[in-house]
């Protein structure tokens, strides 16, 4: 609140002197910030038809997803079986968790313009933290989760406050280095607590019964759905909050925000920590769903996977992150099945080798999207829609700008 008053005051001060080029430039800066706060105040009230339709579709979608375990629907080629079977529910739950994780990455990259290569550290801290606590302490699930969160909040503050000393590409490298340290701990298996390469199997003694066993997969499915919806709501809220607007302003022009007396560093740190906490919670649910912790959960590969999801879906778009997360997870699963199929096995070596490597196909697809489909899937969809209604597309432009600003 105080910052807002400051901004208005500076604006008034310049209004009085006015006319000089420097003054007018600063006034332009103030105008930008004023518009930002303006948006913040008005956003909840500004219900366009598009937003109403979007919300309605969203709610209908959530209701459908809630009912899915009770229905007998088949999606051959996408799901391994009818929707009520544990196998399908497991895959769908995984899609939703990955979509939620991609949303937390969107918070970093799309909102704050932070290209982090260390996000897996917090996901992995959730997975391994909870697994280790349940393994070694005799406490119920919720306190164990609370304890894990506490650890991650401290960790995110320490790593965030150091890494944010630099920005752009150096920030990417530094976050990667910290995450790598985490990955190394897990691999080294100190005192046997992480299980090394083998990972840890979830100890279920202190878990509530309804979360244990294949028969209860649908409960975990609903939990994953709840996490996705909660993360979506929180990310939307953060994005439209004051901090979100300041973060966006910082992304566009850090100096401008500093001139206004705001603290870009603290806002970035806040977003960094919120994003870490959310992805840690997702990691904990991931542990319950997978009933085990594997080293991949804390590897740089996982961060890169999240990055790929966000870019595939379209940088700067919440729905893009969700779509990218679901699309990637299903494609990865399908390609793995394909890789082991007889059809591929019968191919000559030059085709068989690349096609039997899901990551080769996904990596190539990713390159093609970056090169030819700026704005990702949502950007492409919007462009198609716009072409029909003959309006210019701005999604693509926005994605490109966000990426440039992260540099």
């Amino acid at each position: 609140m105080t910052t807002e008053t400051d901004a208005t005051e500076t604006q008034d001060a310049h209004g009085a002197t006015g006319g000089t080029p420097a003054g007018s430039r600063r006034r332009a800066a103030n105008r930008g910030a004023a518009e930002g706060t303006h948006d913040g105040g008005r956003a909840p009230l500004r219900l366009t038809r598009g937003k109403v339709v979007g919300a309605a579709v969203g709610i209908a979608g959530v209701v459908l997803l809630i009912l899915l375990p009770l229905l007998n629907l088949s999606l051959p080629g996408v799901l391994p079986g009818p929707t009520y079977t544990p196998g399908s529910l497991q895959l769908l739950a995984m899609c939703m968790l990955m979509a939620a994780a991609a949303l937390t990455y969107h918070l970093l990259l799309g909102v704050a313009g932070l290209l982090s290569f260390g996000h897996a550290l917090y996901f992995g801290a959730g997975v391994y933290g909870l697994a280790i606590i349940l393994q070694n302490l005799d406490i119920p699930l919720l306190p164990a989760m609370g304890l894990t969160l506490l650890v991650v909040i401290v960790l995110a503050h320490v790593v965030g406050s150091i890494s944010l000393k630099v920005s752009g590409i150096p920030f990417a490298m530094v976050t990667l280095a910290f995450a790598q340290a985490g990955s190394v701990v897990v691999g080294r298996n100190p005192e046997g607590i992480t299980g090394g390469d083998e990972g840890l199997t979830l100890r279920t003694n202190n878990l509530p019964d309804f979360l244990v066993g294949v028969a209860n997969t649908r409960n975990l499915y609903w939990l994953a759905l709840a996490v996705l919806v909660a993360v979506f709501v929180i990310v939307t809220w953060v994005q439209s909050s004051r901090a979100g607007h300041v973060a966006a302003a910082v992304r566009e022009n850090e100096l401008r925000v500093r001139v206004l007396g705001l603290q870009p560093y603290l806002v970035k740190l806040l977003i960094f920590v919120v994003s870490a906490v959310l992805v840690c919670i997702i990691g904990m649910v991931f542990l319950l769903l997978q009933s085990g912790a594997v080293p991949r959960a804390v590897s740089a590969d996982l961060t890169i996977t999240l990055l790929v999801m966000v870019v595939l879906g379209g940088v700067g778009s919440r729905w893009g992150a969700v779509i990218g997360g679901v699309f990637y997870t299903i494609l990865d699963q399908r390609l793995t099945t394909l890789a082991n199929s007889d059809a591929i096995d019968a191919l000559p070596e030059i085709l068989r080798i690349p096609l039997s490597e899901p990551l080769f196909i996904l990596g190539t697809l990713f390159i093609l999207v970056v090169l030819f489909l700026p704005g990702g899937l949502t950007g492409a969809a919007q462009r198609l829609a716009r072409r029909r209604t003959r309006r210019g597309g701005d999604r693509v432009q926005k994605s490109r700008e966000i990426l440039e600003e992260a540099a």
């Binding site: 190394v184 990055l307 790929v308 690349p354 990551l359 990596g363 970056v370 700026p374 440039e404």
Partner: protein, 291 residues
């Protein structure tokens, strides 16, 4: 004393490998602003092609080894030049998208190596002399360490000579300092881009062959694991500084070896800690541009 000497030489050997990766990374970043995640793939390709040469020509004589170094370097250079020419160039001035493309390339390349050579490490044989040791101040140093150190020093000298004494070297040095002014003098700086990628790829490919002898095996993950330390080295040394990369490579590797031995296998953390300290007190790196 002999332990100290052994650790020092092992550290120097590892530092030599870090330098071979970091040199290219640092030059590429300094000139083009691109963080090249595919650099590890250049190294791995160099290591595998070097291994193929050794396997096909009977791996235990010096000529084979020298040939494998050459072929590994050429393979790394070609892969890198291809990367710059086909992928990076299309995204001129779009730094983050360039990074994303190299991320995708490293994913695809490592998966392809998995498919071709399998996920398990393949073991490599060099000249018999590599397996022997040399006595220095009572320490028995494995000979392959010396090869790594000599090769890295030669590469460093060659790079310094190239940068100081050729027109393209001059363009690269000027471009690291102020790229837009180089173009404003009428120079097509993109040629220098392809060149630094090629040079960086060659150094990485050479490093790959040496790394396979240092560790005794090749695996598709070889490049990725060295790449992360090379990133740390470039940040500590100062992005864009070749001498910084050399100094930091040695410092990081020696520190890592000593911490691993004396502080109970904590080498990797000590290195990350060193990175944190450098960032806190000198964010532009040891020899980086102070801006």
């Amino acid at each position: 004393m002999s332990t100290l000497v052994l650790l020092l030489f092992t550290g120097l050997g590892l530092g030599a490998l870090y330098f071979l990766v970091a040199a290219g990374l640092s030059l590429i970043y300094g000139l083009m602003g691109v963080l090249n995640f595919a650099h590890g793939a250049f190294l791995t390709l160099g290591a595998f092609t070097g291994w193929e040469i050794a396997r096909r020509t009977g791996g235990d004589n010096w000529w084979t080894f020298l040939l494998s170094l050459l072929v590994g370097a050429v393979a790394g250079a070609l892969f890198a030049a291809f990367t710059e020419f086909v992928l990076i160039r299309r995204l001129y001035q779009r730094h983050i998208e360039q990074v994303l493309v190299t991320v995708g390339l490293s994913l695809a390349a490592v998966a392809l190596f998995d498919g071709i050579w399998g996920t398990d490490p393949v073991f490599i044989q060099g000249p018999a002399w590599f397996k022997e040791t040399t006595d220095i101040l009572g320490a028995r140093i494995p000979n392959d360490r010396f090869i790594c150190i000599i090769a890295a020093v030669l590469v460093l000298l060659a790079l310094v000579f190239f940068l100081k004494n050729t027109r393209y070297g001059m363009i690269i040095r000027a471009g690291v300092e102020n790229r837009s002014m180089v173009t404003a003098l009428g120079i097509d700086v993109r040629k220098a881009f392809t060149l630094v990628f090629t040079i960086g790829g060659a150094a990485a490919g050479l490093g790959g062959v040496l790394a396979s002898h240092y560790f005794g095996y090749v695996s598709p993950l070889l490049g990725g694991s060295l790449l992360i330390f090379a990133f740390i080295v470039t940040v500590i040394g100062g992005l864009g500084s070749l001498t910084g990369a050399a100094v930091a490579a040695v410092a990081v590797a020696v520190l890592q070896q000593f911490a691993n031995f004396y502080l109970g296998g904590t080498g990797d953390f000590v290195v990350v800690l060193a990175l944190a300290l450098v960032l806190l007190f000198r964010p532009s790196g040891l020899l980086g541009r102070t801006s």
